[in-house]
């Protein structure tokens, strides 16, 4: 792959969900286009942001890229291959290089398994580290990387706070050294003081591991902090795609401007944070 080739390429992607009516005689009465013909490229090493309100199609987009959903139309290219039709072994191979971090650290971790085995699971599935002792070592190293105490290997998710659980989710996602990390609202469920810890961790991991990241959020301030280029989604479409500087200094689309104007207090917080 030449360096100018994008790591991820999304072409004319469409996802329709059927709308069914009726209890006894369910019938299809139409479809809603959650994602409506979007296109973008993500280059190696960058953080690509997708921002939008609920129902904009941003999370559906994440799931389409990760092949957790099948698109109605369009193509997803990853690392030079079209992955939209992959099945079985081909898909498994792609998933190794593409990992996801989810919003809710409470429901995305299996409560019956220790965090050690949760983080180790991808290594087992992909037979990346067949030796038990070495696997434990690798997991403890990952836990250390994300700021967890490696001695807590045998603890269960409920013994951890929300921020720590999100660290477990990140450690698991990083276990196979993926090329692409898709983070879908990774800090929305966290308190502000913890949110900053997780955002810093993601940035540091990205820098140190040379990760490419698709970062999805409804929060324009968080997106600005994290992303190099940003797509603004509205009603399933990308209404604006621009570099960070461009988007925040000279937004072009009226909807982007509306979103920016709606952020509460952002300007005032800064104005006031100048010492008297």
């Amino acid at each position: 792959m030449s360096p100018a080739e994008p790591l991820l390429r999304v072409k004319g992607l469409v996802k329709e969900f059927a709308i069914d009516r009726g209890v006894m005689l369910r019938r299809n009465v139409g479809a809603v286009k959650a994602v409506d013909g979007i296109e973008f490229d993500v280059y190696a090493g960058e953080t690509f942001g997708i921002v939008g309100e609920s129902g904009s199609g941003k999370s559906t987009t994440a799931r389409l890229i990760a092949r957790l959903l099948d698109p109605t139309a369009g193509e997803v290219w990853f690392d030079g291959r079209e992955i939209t039709a992959l099945r079985g072994r081909g898909l498994k191979q792609i998933r190794r290089d593409m990992q996801m971090v989810f919003q809710d650290p409470y429901s995305s971790l299996n409560p019956r398994r220790t965090v050690g085995s949760i983080v180790a699971e991808p290594l087992q599935i992909h037979r990346a580290e067949p030796d038990r002792a070495k696997r434990k070592q690798a997991v403890q190293e990952l836990m250390r990387t994300v700021g967890l105490n490696p001695e807590h290997y045998n603890r269960y998710p409920h013994e951890f706070s929300g921020g720590q659980r999100q660290r477990v989710g990140i450690a698991r996602a990083l276990a196979l050294r993926p090329k692409l990390l898709i983070a879908d609202e990774p800090v929305s469920a966290l308190d502000v003081s913890i949110q900053a810890q997780v955002l810093n961790l993601l940035r540091e991991c990205q820098r140190e591991l040379g990760l490419t990241m698709v970062f999805i959020s409804h929060d324009l301030s968080v997106i600005r902090h994290m992303c190099d280029r940003i797509a603004v989604m509205h009603d399933g479409k990308i209404v604006e795609l621009a570099s960070n500087d461009e988007l925040y200094s000279a937004p072009r689309d009226p909807y982007t401007r509306e979103l920016l104007a709606a952020v509460p207090g952002a300007r005032r917080v800064r104005e006031r944070t100048i010492p008297a």
């Binding site: 900053a196 810093n200 968080v222 104007a261 207090g265 008297a276």
Partner: protein, 368 residues
């Protein structure tokens, strides 16, 4: 509804000559009656018995609110901010909580009222709006009927008149085609419309005080801006006081005259809003301000998170409750829990911190 606009809230904000804080509760005969605060909360303590022991959700907090003013109570989850506000309505009592202290509303101690007396205040003189309108509206009754019921619970009014009043209220809160929407069910409305309907219901009896607990947290950012603009418009028109409970510093920056920052069941800093942002004196407030990414701050640097996580309410740390996470903590801070005291030269600005005021101001100058 016009596009969200910060001008409305800016105006509301500039009226912020802070209400003088009177340390004594005895009415001063030289002052007019309405200089007395509308709401005075003194040494409020709320604790719940759990299997693992007593949880002190709120542990000795005091605050007050003048007529027509807005107090923002800010804190993270578990800080006690919701309990601090809902106790005013006697809602924590129903949950079997033990409540101590004093909550004076227009000179009456609400904690001394029985449930029947309290019902004449709740929904009438004091109304509330919650985070999730879907769970606060009854799903099987038409929205209009629920508002009619709220009106008739406190006013002697015919059904027809109450219905006409309901349509007026829905119109006031910006619900389009109110004569028709009055018969809608909650599920037929969008999240923003439901929150507007909740606000209409809260306004039904022209309350003097509105308590809003995370009123916009479940909403999209553009809808949030509209609801906040609506709240401050209504407040200005009606001279209603507002207690706004939120985790979002941006929201209080836009809305509040005064801010109380809560941590682990206590108020750690309270001040007029502009001082909280320009000259905060508590290390926890600094931590909050520095950990949020902004729309125009520096982008390349890492954020400055607050290390660690909030303490368990079952076992708050001894001494200053923030000391385990405070970068400036001294050994003796683990022994003494600081009182909320006025900072020198600023009677309205109170801080619960064991550092010397001069030290605190110097530290903030370095950080900011």
């Amino acid at each position: 509804m016009s596009p969200p606009d910060h001008i409305v809230t800016t105006e509301a904000y500039q009226v912020s000559a802070a209400t003088p804080v009177s340390p004594s509760s005895s009415p001063d005969p030289a002052r007019p009656a309405d200089a007395e605060p509308l709401l005075q909360v003194k040494d409020l303590r709320v604790s719940y018995a759990t299997e693992d022991g007593a949880v002190r959700a709120v542990d000795g907090i005091s605050y007050e609110l003048g007529r027509g003013r807005t107090l923002g109570i800010v804190g993270e989850s578990g800080s006690g901010k919701t309990v601090a506000a809902l106790s005013v309505l006697g809602l924590t009592r129903a949950e079997g909580a033990e409540v101590g202290g004093c909550i004076e509303f227009e000179g009456r101690d609400l904690l001394a009222l029985d449930e029947r007396e309290l019902r004449t205040v709740r929904g009438n003189e004091i109304a509330m709006v919650f985070q999730d309108p879907l769970s606060s509206l009854h799903p099987l009754y038409r929205v209009g009927a629920q508002i009619v019921e709220a009106i008739r619970a406190h006013q002697d009014m015919t059904k027809a008149k109450a219905r006409a009043r309901t349509i007026e209220l829905l119109d006031l809160v910006g619900i389009p085609d109110p004569a028709k929407r009055v018969d809608a069910y909650p599920h037929e409305m969008s999240g923003g419309q439901r929150q507007r309907a909740m606000i209409a219901m809260a306004l039904a009896n022209d309350p003097k005080l509105l308590i809003a607990d995370e009123p916009t947290t479940a909403l999209d950012v553009t809808v949030q801006a509209q609801i906040l603009a609506l709240l401050s418009e209504l407040q200005q028109e009606r001279g209603m006081a507002l207690v706004l409970v939120t985790h979002d510093l941006g929201v209080v920056a836009d809305m509040a005259d005064d801010i109380a920052v809560m941590y682990a069941g206590e108020i750690v800093e309270s001040a007029p809003a502009e001082r909280v942002f320009a000259a905060p004196e508590h290390p926890y407030t600094w931590g909050l301000l520095r950990s949020i990414p902004t729309l125009d701050g520096p982008r390349e640097e890492l954020l400055t998170p607050i290390p660690g996580s909030p303490p368990s309410p079952l076992a708050p740390p001894p001494g200053c409750r923030f000391h385990p996470r405070c970068p400036y903590a001294q050994p003796e801070h683990a022994r003494t829990n600081p009182e909320l005291l006025s900072t020198p030269g600023q009677p309205d600005h109170r801080v619960a911190c064991l550092l010397e005021p001069e030290t605190r101001r110097g530290l903030w100058r370095e950080l900011a």
